[in-house]
Subunit: 519 residues, 2 copies
């Protein structure tokens, strides 16, 4: 970073860098925990992480940070007024993001942070047990507590009791959403989820009325080592640079950034479901490509991250679904896949394979849902959790509300709470406001993709040839490079000229499925 | 730990625990660097580690530590006088060790620490290049600098200019030795290395005059995956609890402790030298068994480590050589090894195999040396480095001195400095005083073993049956459990009733090799 010499901002850069290195060190310990840790070491690892995370928090919230932020903001205002440019623009972005992190951290009293962290631990443990026994009542008091902490957290942050921006009254749920999707409000999401829900339900009904594709050949016995080998071939083929990252295995696939040149993905393999590991891998690669294409000037600063959960998810879903479940993509990869599993795929050709990996229909479990029904699973959770947070729905009534909404959406009966309201970990961790990110990711992805395909007309040819460099280049330059320098809405506007919209996503799905299911 | 409530010592325990968790977090990052790190992430990992290690140093050297140490020592003296017992004994040991760590850290000025760390980095880089080109002159100025820093370090610690203990004047080299072997002085080592050198040389001459055993079958092609599988079988068979540790691969085998229940070993495999990986694995397991058998009361404190490099090495060498190169050990393992590599070992029986893995003779490279010549390689380094530190030998004259000493010891001519004075990393890191640990390890190992075999007369039968529980129990109770609570000399005296002696080691080797080489 080539900044004018200014001891205040240089000191702030240094403080931030130390905090980021500490939090990357914590990320290494987390990664190790998921992939390598000997089972009896789990408890001590939690202690080690608590020390690291406590120190990172201290680095962020020390009085020096607040004072330097004030001074640097004033320096910048005096020098540049309201429109800084070049290095000053960089400094302004840095100050805005660091200030956001700082304010959100210092506004929470230490006692509250400690107490809520402890309660989350207990809540998660109770949820695991409750899900196992499909016993919502055992989890209900913890859910109540998580909601109380969440409302209180939003209140500390200043949401729920005043106006969020000119003219719009904010809600507690706005405050929670803002943790995952900075600047996004409940009302905005409501405005897009409404039409999204209606048209997805319509599409799903059409699909249900059509003959189902045969996907039995995807549930035969697929040797795990051959799956591993294919995954490595695929990862390399997608352009993942293994000098800057790795692929490992874990119970739940994830991506983590341990350094500017150290982004790691994991997947898992199921003997009778090879596509599960493959699509997980492509999904996680999409997250990794984001983190690997950040502007090097952002390195080791608070700007060096994806800007929001929703934008991050737009990249993973773009790769997993829009690219990874396209016909052109498998024109490129089906021959390699079939040559590795020629027995299981004897007689299967590309068209049948393409239909099989896109089979859609109502399902009970979010994480197993197809591209069409997935967003409906999210909308259900959004509608329930906002009412839980506002108090419009009681914890006691929540399972019945879940089951009723589920029946209305999918025409399916929920057999038990384990396959219903207890299926996801998020609420047990107090992560209300997180779910919408997944559906926002779908919407952003298609808004970006519409622009990308307009800019690169021969994109299908490239996909069929397994040539991804131009796509990486476009995504990197237009989206990834910025890190947290732009807010999600600013980024979206800059890339597409649009505000949030469900239309590109709906048009994409309606076209794709009309062709797939021939209606 | 069940201590009487004392807020001062509880605070000191807490400070120490935080420091230890930070240093274990750093250990995770180091382990990851050696086993997993993507190549382009090396530089940023160094920055992350510098932050962690800096914070661990701050935790140790903060003014609070010094004040609390003074207060706690005084509390203890008032309550117990000079002979604390039970929990007070524990507290006294804790205070002694923490004070040692604290004094050694605060006596070094921060500028000195930073400058010498930077110089060590440059020196190591220069050494790598110099060794590659076999060009001592390119390394000489760095070695000079490392010696200057080492002397200065000893001076800051208070060595080299006064009396170390009643009546004995200390040297700078004493100060360096004390880093690796607390309480051990140059004169003491000299007294045992003298006779050791003489008798080992004599033994080596006898061996050289005898016919060499055939070990050609150990240099055929051994499939790497079969080697990996055998290593896992061996590790489990030795009693390594994989719920509390792991086995991985790295360029240089090592053991590291990432937590009380997280001790990891690595090895490496060579296609035409299966015993290299196997003996590395047994060696590292010996280190791991030490760390895994510490008293749980020591957990996450500064006491929870092996007490010295020499005692640690006694455990690794005991397992690698005394146990792992014994006939009884291979009575237990040869059938499993041969059944995995029946082609390579066709016609080979236990007696021939036992002779082959114990083949001895002069060699140029320390790390490839056998049990007999190994200690001679160490004595050569000890004799040179003490003269380098005292100034009795100049850097300029060092290569010639090395080559002359080598010729005198082994009757071999050193072909170039890469295979001579430049072969080891230690001096390039400024680690003078480290080498003796390796030979001390051999001596301690046999002093311990003599006692162990007296206490467990049927030990050969146990080894032949691959039953190690009783041996682990003995080593754990007599040696491992104490961690840093006893000084090396105190531990040795407590276990064996003896002071440091080369005799058990010499008698062991002379008996073993007289039988092996039939003289």
């Amino acid at each position: 970073m080539n900044h004018p010499p200014n001891p205040n901002i240089e000191r702030l850069f240094a403080l931030d860098r130390e905090r980021m290195y500490l939090s990357k060190a914590a990320a290494v310990l987390h990664w190790d925990e998921e992939t390598c840790l000997p089972p009896l070491a789990v408890e001590e690892r939690a202690e080690q992480l608590a020390v690291l995370e406590g120190l990172a928090h201290e680095k962020l919230t020390g009085p020096e940070t607040g004072e330097l932020l004030d001074r640097c903001r004033e320096d910048l205002r005096v020098r540049c007024g309201e429109s800084p440019s070049g290095n000053d623009r960089f400094a302004a972005d840095f100050l805005r993001v660091l200030e956001r992190d700082y304010r959100r951290a210092v506004k929470l009293p230490p006692d509250f942070v400690r107490d809520s962290a402890r309660a989350e631990g207990l809540s998660q443990a109770a949820w695991i047990k409750a899900r196992k026994n499909s016993d919502f009542s055992a989890f209900a008091p913890h859910l109540e507590k998580m909601l109380t902490y969440a409302r209180k957290r939003a209140e500390y942050w200043g949401f729920g009791s005043g106006s969020r921006n000119a003219g719009a009254a904010s809600t507690a749920y706005d405050g929670l959403l803002d943790s995952f999707e900075p600047g996004m409000g409940e009302a905005e999401i409501d405005a897009v989820f409404g039409p999204l829900k209606e048209r997805l339900q319509k599409l799903l009904r059409k699909i249900a009325a059509s003959p189902k594709p045969d996907d039995g050949f995807l549930h035969l016995d697929y040797d795990l080592n051959s799956q591993r080998e294919f995954s490595r071939e695929l990862l390399d083929g997608l352009g993942f640079d293994r000098r800057r990252g790795r692929l490992d295995e874990s119970a739940h696939p994830f991506t983590t950034t341990l350094g500017y040149n150290d982004v790691r993905v994991t997947t898992r393999y199921a003997q009778n479901d090879p596509m599960s590991g493959i699509f997980s891998l492509i999904h996680e690669s999409g997250h990794a490509f984001y983190e690997l294409a950040l502007d090097p000037a952002l390195k080791a600063s608070c700007l060096a991250e994806g800007v929001s959960m929703g934008i991050h998810e737009s990249q993973s879903r773009l790769w997993e679904n829009v690219i990874g479940r396209s016909r052109a993509f498998w024109e490129g990869w089906f021959p390699a896949f079939k040559s590795r599993f020629s027995g299981q795929l004897a007689g299967v050709e590309l068209p049948g394979f393409y239909r099989a990996v896109n089979a859609a229909g109502p399902s009970l479990i979010r994480t197993e849902a197809d591209e069409v029904s997935y967003s409906l699973h999210i909308i259900l959770r959004f509608e329930l959790e906002r009412r839980l947070v506002s108090g419009g729905l009681s914890v006691e009534d929540a399972p019945a509300a879940w089951n009723a909404a589920f029946g209305e959406l999918f025409g399916l009966e929920v057999p038990n709470d384990a396959a219903g309201i207890l299926q996801d970990v998020h609420w047990s961790m107090g992560a209300f406001g997180y779910f919408p990110s997944y559906a926002l990711g779908n919407l952003y992805a298609l808004q970006f993709w519409k622009k990308c395909t307009a800019d690169i007309p021969r994109i299908e040819t490239l996909l069929a040839r397994r040539e991804y460099a131009e796509i990486h280049g476009w995504l990197g330059e237009k989206i990834h490079a910025f890190g947290r320098r732009l807010l999600p809405a600013e980024l979206l506007e800059r890339v597409t000229g649009e505000t949030l919209s469900a239309l590109p996503f709906l048009e994409y799905l309606e076209t794709k499925y009309a062709e797939l299911y021939e209606f």
